[in-house]
Symmetry: C3
Subunit: 534 residues, 3 copies
């Protein structure tokens, strides 16, 4: 293919494979077993190191030959957790090898044509560690589809866009796939109103996409995706949808000058695939925790306040961020701990939640009290986890929150070197700390030991923002989402109205979409978008 | 067996096999794969035709050798829908081949002895396309068991009986199996009151059965069905149940003269196995729709009004029906479309619901707007499906219905050549048509684009009946079910009281069960049955 | 191992294997099939006997060669129930063979060292028939873990302890495993308050344990059980948990003299693994019944009244018990029937519930009316089962109960030779008996034909206790559990307070835990335990 099309004048970009790992992210056959062993040899060198990393003394699992090692297949009881974790790493690496093999051929034939592949930073998909893939690509691309049953799907979209930008090193990226209306793989595939089609796409641009594409051009008459929406529906060009797609094409032309501009954020939220895999292994204190839900819950409070967030992998240089969130960062290396400590002592405010810092990279518990890696940074210590039953709610009180509730989790947190901002007033951790704050150098370190209700999350986020001196770049009326892209000669203020009523953004300038000019503040009609050059 | 018993004086009828397809309706092994290929070669002739029918250009599924074709086995994503549909056809045909092979032997040995096999027209069983089987039988037989958790199981029974009669070409048929009381394969196997045992059996006769049999004679002491009820229970002859069975035997003797009489109905409801298979394939706009539930929902309103309905396969000659219902008739051939158009222009009133006429026999979407095949007949067009989330309800209003609700589905229906009888007042299709009516020649064509609440279904059915001049053959007090069988010299009015109180049927004559005579109107005691010759 | 450690001075007891059958209680492979056939040959001798026992005439299942017999593997419909029952027996016996094989080696090397293995008498675990294993052990041991979602887990604990004692022939036994706090294999692994750690362990002692051990010594850093609590937690010795474990060690030393003392109870509750397996086979009248739940429901009323109960296997000598409960004793041999009849005629009061005495040891129904085996003993007869739908409740009334409710089950019980104490007032068995009592010699026989609400169960139990002259050995304030162990020279009264408030036990003596002496009555602080020597 590279030979045949490599010099075609229309060739601008190679897109390798499609959604790598989507349907084959884990595979347990004989060839996989063999590949897994090769990967483990390379990681551990010898079996002693593997036995030590996997803790095989427990349950008499010691390996004395590489051939004895298997993928974590179905077993009558729990499978070794480090084996599971390493298998996740291996599978992600194996598919990256496929990407590399295909990319190598293309680069040999067309060294000047950039190469990308479409990630799936979307909902609960977590099978590939994309942070380790980006170095192999010239451009980061993503597919994003919304969940019809999620009333906050627009916040989920923003979270994913900010995550893709974080993976892309804060550079522009490409939205490879989205849907104009319904998809076909959910239980009920709700249609999208046409105003949403437009607003979703422009939000992706606002958050750093330099291109927004759709799957698919024309709705198929046959096959497994014939009820997936397209740019041209079954009904033909005599349809609302076709008109909206054509309209969006015009909009994109009108805002073409934003291409290449970037987004910069005062807040980093650390989201990491290894921590995710680790946090959701089986035989844990509770299977009710969700890594992704927890991260989006804290993100949401910042989204509502129009405070910019980069969602970044573990290992990202945190210099320059005034605030760092580490929700449920279960697995951390010593270097990660040092990076967070460094951020705090450098003046940032770091917020850590329950079930963070529990294990090292081998999923070995950090002893001496929870949250193992962060007891010193946070100035807290709990000698036990006390998760809550599915229907159980505990109460939390303190000046910062007033009266609030916690679910899913609690811990008998003692503040060894921190101020207690809120305490449990009932439940298994009654009397212990639910929210703490420690002064650390110029900055601070905050700990939250339960899944707080949303209002309480908002209050904690507001307090941390206040301490860190962080706020929105541009203010707006409630329900109006604002993002600023910074270009060489101008800034671009994107304002997306998610409400049924007219809203306002406190910014003026030239609206690229309508061509009109505004001073000081600009009206954003219901469900509409404005893009101001200023 | 044919040699040994073929000339036994007690031999009246051969019953071939048992519930063909009940436990092996789909089979995915190597021999099935081979049989499927043979069947496909016979259907398509060459691979180009198969590739075209299956739309294999999509997802790069093109076949270049027959050996590549497989049954629709478990796959990491959705399997080709036309492959699934053809496999359903193949499996039904393969079991019909078994029936034919056994029947051929019997016919060779005993050409004068009729042959039957027991269908399973019952609840959600849909694996066999019985409409293609009846030509191989001398007599249509059915097994029918009631679902303990269904409060309207007596309506479900009537629906099935009317369906068996439709399959039997409106001729008498045989109830091969039913239960005297509890079955043993449901979650909770509730017992039947003895009055229900009797009423159920006589209802089957009313609706065309010339014989009603039970599974099983004597309750087994051992084995997998030992808790299935029988004519003789574990308790022995000193039991209510045994007495009731003996009583029913007497009743059947008393009404023996109804044998051979037939039922004729003013309404046809088209229920088709291919449409059923197609409608419930995966990757559809919504998995909340149920073909069978939808059909029974519309039937129910007619049952309540004691209006006679033949439940007939696609392809049935519709001449003579004054009203035709096509609920969720997803898959239709061009001939089917012509048949419905012909019925309307011939004076019938045709009612079509959402998700009808969407695809052709290859499951290819009919382009140009929904409901593809019927836009002209109905004078409506929607450019998108807008299914509703599981808990979502929309409101519908119009003179015909007053205020009503819709669930599961909606469409932005524009009336291109029809009168709008009700519109959505909220939800994703607000302002568009929910119910329409078009004049077509002497008849009419009605469309309903959402799953209306039961009262609204009743109102629509009443309006269509009124337009079509259709009503009950005999009226009765509420809760009294009435069916008329027409014999050579007499009509037989069956009235079944489903209430705890005395009811009335507005018919007189000689009650075959009690021997008493009635003029004008007859009392039907609570839970009792009367059979009037008039 | 026996050679190496057999003469080690610290060797006090061999613990063979671990939780035999926990993860491999049923196995369906080729070697299992072969072993099953050998076991069947030994049980039945010839195929005619097997065919008769399995009722293979039904569904044409007759075997003509042993090789045709298979384990009850996955099948498209229900598998032969006697085949399932025999396979359960075989599996239990096969693991007992493993125990015997290992024990034989140990006994050869160290004839004087006792041998045990840890049972799992806990919750719904039912795969092994421990009653047939105890003869192979020198000491009965058990593992017991509590279910975090069960608000009555302390009653469940007591029930299991009384069951282990019943299996151990009422002799002292050993608690091999329990948890100090959370386990790691439930959905949410709630922590235990430290007062519960202590009270649970001392309750096990109260009910006959002469040793109480924990899994595990030190919480692992790695592996599948690293979040299972231990005596030494991840947090180290600076923890509430470690202090509590050390404290318990002191308590056990203080009460060391209770070792060897025994518990004797006026009531026997027959709990049998074969009856359990049989009662929960598939294709039954209802899958809503639970053998274990039913047994614990009746036990609970006695626990609340502090009436002592031995939970004993079928076949236990019932002499000396003043009251015998047989809840849902589905499968009984003729000898079992005679034993219960003998108990009644010998002066005991026997209480039997619905779905008892239905089948013999081959799972063949006992004909002539339900409850087959017990119609004579109880003086009742029902000619049908009438199970209730999941949400269905019926009402029951009578002098004994006032107004009560029944769920899950009902029967049209006629009292042929018994007094009716309560009748159904509605539902499918309206007018028939729900509770009956028959005088039998010096004793009596009671029948309950529905799952009564808890208050009604309490009322029935109180009436039977009253008739049998049975009451608590020692009374106490509500929520204080009392058990008496009888030693050679003294009795030991254990009182466990399950409430948040101070309670009282009506006994005096020397409190072994505190060293203080009490006369007449003793205070039991909230959540605390007292152990009085008197």
């Amino acid at each position: 293919m590279a030979e045949r099309y490599g010099h075609h004048p229309a060739l601008a970009l190679w897109h390798v494979s499609n959604e790598l790992g989507c349907h084959n992210g884990r595979s347990y056959g004989e060839r996989d077993a063999s590949g897994f062993r090769t990967w483990l040899r390379s990681r551990y060198g010898d079996l002693d190191a593997l036995n030590s990393a996997w803790g095989t003394d427990f349950w008499s699992q010691r390996y004395s030959a590489w051939e004895e090692v298997q993928p974590p297949r179905v077993a009558p009881s729990f499978v070794n957790p480090t084996q599971q974790l390493d298998f996740a790493r291996f599978c992600s690496d194996a598919l990256r090898e496929q990407l590399r093999a295909e990319t190598a051929v293309l680069r040999r034939h067309t060294p000047d044509v950039p190469v990308t592949t479409n990630f799936m930073v979307m909902g609960h998909f977590s099978l590939m560690d994309y942070a380790t893939w980006t170095g192999d690509l010239d451009l980061v691309s993503n597919d994003h589809y919304m969940q019809a049953t999620d009333p906050d799907a627009h916040i989920e979209l923003a979270f994913c866009a900010d995550h893709v930008r974080g993976l892309a090193g804060r550079q522009p990226w490409m939205l490879m796939e989205a849907s104009t209306s319904a998809v076909s793989w959910q239980s009920v595939n709700a249609a999208k109103p046409v105003h949403q089609l437009r607003r979703n796409s422009l939000t992706q641009v606002a958050r750093g996409a330099d291109a927004v594409l759709y799957f698919q051009w024309r709705a198929a008459r046959a096959g497994a995706e014939k009820y997936h929406s397209a740019m041209l529906p079954h009904a033909g060009t005599d349809s609302e949808l076709w008109e909206a797609v054509v309209g969006l094409g015009g909009d994109l032309q009108r805002i073409a000058e934003v291409t290449g501009s970037t987004v910069s954020s005062p807040v980093a939220l650390v989201l990491d695939y290894e921590a995710w895999w680790g946090a959701e292994l089986d035989a844990h204190p509770s299977d009710q925790l969700s890594y992704r839900r927890t991260a989006e819950r804290w993100y949401r409070a910042l989204w509502e306040a129009n405070v910019g967030v980069d969602v970044v992998p573990r290992g990202t240089d945190l210099t320059g961020y005034r605030m760092v969130l580490a929700p449920m960062l279960y697995l951390v290396t010593d270097a990660d701990v040092a990076a967070l400590e460094g951020a705090a002592s450098g003046g940032a405010h770091v917020l850590v939640t329950y079930f963070s810092g529990v294990v090292d990279e081998h999923d070995h518990v950090r002893l001496g009290g929870y949250p193992g890696a962060f007891t010193e940074l946070l100035g807290v210590r709990a000698d036990e986890f006390r998760p809550l039953l599915p229907e159980q709610t505990v109460h939390v009180a303190g000046d910062l929150l007033g009266e609030a509730t916690g679910t899913s989790w609690s811990e008998p947190v003692a503040a060894t070197d921190a101020e207690v901002l809120a305490r449990y007033t009932d439940g298994p951790s009654a009397g212990y700390a639910a929210v703490t704050r420690a002064e650390r150098g110029e900055g601070g370190a905050w700990y939250v030991s339960t899944e707080l209700d949303l209002d309480a999350v908002r209050a904690v986020v507001a307090a941390v923002c206040d301490a860190a001196g962080v706020g929105p770049a541009v203010t707006a009326s409630p329900g109006v989402e604002v993002v600023v892209r910074h270009g060489d000669g101008a800034d671009y203020v994107f304002a997306m109205n998610h409400t049924d009523a007219e809203g306002t953004v406190e910014a003026g300038g030239h609206d690229l979409l309508t061509g009109s000019d505004h001073a000081g503040s600009t009206t954003v009609p219901a469900h509409d978008v404005v893009v101001l050059r200023r």
